[in-house]
C-alpha cells in the first residue's frame, strides 16, 4: 500500500516522503488538488492514507476532501489534513467533512509517523 501527499510545497512533500520511507511506505505525490484526483483515479486501490495541505493553488484542501468523501470509490480512504492552519474553525470543518486526523505544522517526524499509523489503525512507533 502507498501514501498520497497533496501539497504545493516540494519541501513538505519531501518531508512526508522521508516519514513514509521510515514506515516502509512508498509515497505518491500531487502538487495540487486536480493532480491528486488524477492520482486517485489511477491508483486509489493502492492508497492507504491521503495527506492533504489546506492552502493550495486552485482547489484548497477542504474542497479536495469534500470531493474524496463524496466519491463511493474513494470515501473509505482515511484523509489527514497536514497544514499550518490551526484555528479551531478549520479543524471542525475538516473533521465534519470526514478528515480522520488534523496535523499542524511544525511537527516532529515521530509525531507525523504516529498520526499516519493511527490513521491506518495501527499502534504507535
Amino acid at each position: 500500500m502507498k501514501l498520497l501527499t497533496v501539497d504545493d510545497s516540494k519541501t513538505m512533500r519531501q518531508i512526508i516522503q522521508g516519514v513514509g520511507a521510515t514506515l516502509g511506505y512508498e509515497v505518491l505525490e500531487a502538487e495540487h488538488g486536480l493532480k491528486a484526483l488524477e492520482v486517485l483515479r489511477k491508483s486509489a486501490d493502492e492508497i492507504a492514507v491521503i495527506m492533504l495541505d489546506w492552502n493550495m493553488p486552485g482547489m484548497n484542501g477542504l474542497e479536495v476532501l469534500k470531493i474524496i468523501k463524496a466519491s463511493d470509490d474513494w470515501k473509505h480512504i482515511p484523509v489527514m489534513m497536514v497544514t499550518t492552519e490551526s484555528e479551531k474553525g478549520h479543524i471542525i470543518q475538516a473533521v465534519r467533512h470526514g478528515a480522520i486526523q488534523y496535523v499542524t505544522k511544525p511537527f516532529s517526524p515521530e509525531e507525523l509517523a504516529n498520526k499516519i499509523l493511527e490513521s491506518l489503525g495501527m499502534g504507535e512507533l
Partner: protein, 162 residues
Amino acid sequence: MSEIENSQELDISQKLIECLKVSVIDTLSTMAMTETTIINTETADAFNLSFQIGGLIYLYGNHEGMIAISGDKSVIQFVISNIVYNPEGEMADDDIMDGVSELVNMIAGGMKSKAGLTTDAKLTPPIAIVGPSCKSQWKTFRPTYVTTFKTEAGNFQVHASV
C-alpha cells in the same frame, strides 16, 4: 487613533513578536531538529533585508504585518536540509526557494497559532528571494523588530513588522 487604541495595538504587536520568537525555536527544534537560541532583538525604522536567501510572508485581515527570514546560503541550506532529511546534500536554488518559503510559512503560521489569532487574520502565499547579495527595503507604519538567532551552522535573522 486614541492613546488607548495605540497601547492596545502595541500590546498585540509585542505579543506577536514574542510568539514569533517561540515559533522560530519550536519550528527549528521539531522540524529541523536543530537547537536554536536567541542572540538579540533590535528595532529598525524600515523593513530592511540584506542577505543571500530570504523568505517573506504577509499577514492580512484583522491584523496586518510582514514577517521575513533571512540569512547566508550556508545557514538557510543547513536548516532546510535538516528539515527534508538530507543533511549532506547540496541543494539547487529552486529547492532552497521552496524550502525557505515553507519555513517562513511554518514560522508565521506558528506565530498566529500561539497568539490565538482568529481565522480573520490570514497569511499570503510566501515569497522567496535567492541571490548572491540582495538588499530590499519596505516602508512600514509600525516598527520592525529584527531578532538574530544562532544555530550550529551560523546565525540568521527573523524580521517582523506586525
